[in-house]
Subunit: 212 residues, 2 copies
């Protein structure tokens, strides 16, 4: 029986991966939980607890082998395999995502981008030609798609997401400002930029009250 | 003494605001916590608990007055006042943020965008001309800046953030793939797109294991 990992832990995993990658680049071969703790600004006990969810990886008196932990973390995150991504919506945000070269380094391969605006269909973004959204179903039936990124207005995203689910897409990276209500076996990761900005506003407003 | 609000609650606040806005658009004047709960997919008790952090707003047997709660929520979030934003970095992502018209509706006013690439300085993004990053300090000294959005490579963002802090900027919307270590009275909201994608990968990988 697989242990249920809390979403707080899951949220922290990519940050471990990022720090381990930086350590590798700096040529660090091993690190104690104490040193990693100082670098990341979390307690050593938190790090040990988080990693213990997946089996530990540390050795008393030795610390963590950076390269080994980095590789294990990539397996845990599922980024030891490539993921094929399509983007629906080639507005500013869709194009920004398409042009983000960092994703490919982590095995996130963007294969196609779609839009329903005839003025931009056929134009190039990165090394892709923007395809017409009416070719989307055909494309998904004939190509392996792991993840669909939705960078379209919220009125369209519900319909498109449901269509993609019916075609077998199991993961959505949702930039539309709406909660997609999709079947239980479909995963959704939301990036709601307006909400992020509102949280910043909340924290700014309340920090000001504290520091006045 | 102000009560400390947990980050989990803060994370949910913009979502309440979004749903209340949608209800208002649909002409709904009041709603019970039960109905709101069903709409949002959280328990009614969670809603009551969350809102009780700020004084409640509900009335037994009446429910919530949508318009009143929407306005109170905007005060809580600090978006009843405008915020002046600058963007550092006019690459794809910086330009996407600059062109996002939804932010202005919530009082987030983007006033200037900077880049250090001479090929794009002077070009227009939305109704702004991209300014040279070497004009940044001057600009911040002569204009009121509430929030700086950082859409630049991580090597630059640490230096730029520290410079902006020394000029009095108190809030950062950080898209750079690095943790900014800034003084305690400065607030940072991170949008790490690669990490979001890794969380999606984690959930996809582990969901697949569950549903096999």
């Amino acid at each position: 029986m697989k242990k249920e990992i809390s979403s707080a832990v899951i949220k922290r995993l990519p940050r471990y991966y990022r720090y381990l990658g930086e350590l590798l680049e700096e040529g660090v071969e091993r690190i104690s939980s104490g040193e990693l703790s100082e670098k990341m600004g979390v307690t050593a006990s938190q790090i040990r607890q988080d990693l213990n969810n997946f089996g530990g990886f540390g050795q008393q008196g030795y610390g963590y082998n950076v390269n080994y932990l980095y590789k294990e973390m990539s397996k845990i995150l599922g980024i030891d395999n490539n993921h094929n991504i399509i983007i629906v919506g080639a507005g500013n945000l869709g194009q920004a995502i398409a042009n983000y070269s960092n994703f490919a380094k982590r095995g996130f391969i963007i294969n196609a981008i779609f839009d329903n605006n005839p003025d931009i269909v056929g134009k190039e973004v990165g090394d892709m030609k923007i395809m017409d959204t009416n070719e989307l179903a055909d494309y998904v039936m004939n190509n392996h798609v792991d993840i669909a990124a939705l960078a379209i207005p919220k009125v369209e995203s519900t319909v498109i997401a449901q269509e993609l689910v019916s075609l077998g897409v199991k993961a959505f990276w949702n930039f539309s400002h709406i909660d997609l209500n999709l079947p239980e076996d479909v995963v959704v990761e939301n990036v709601h930029l307006s909400e992020s900005l509102m949280r910043l506003s909340y924290n700014l407003t309340n920090k000001e009250k504290t520091f006045l």
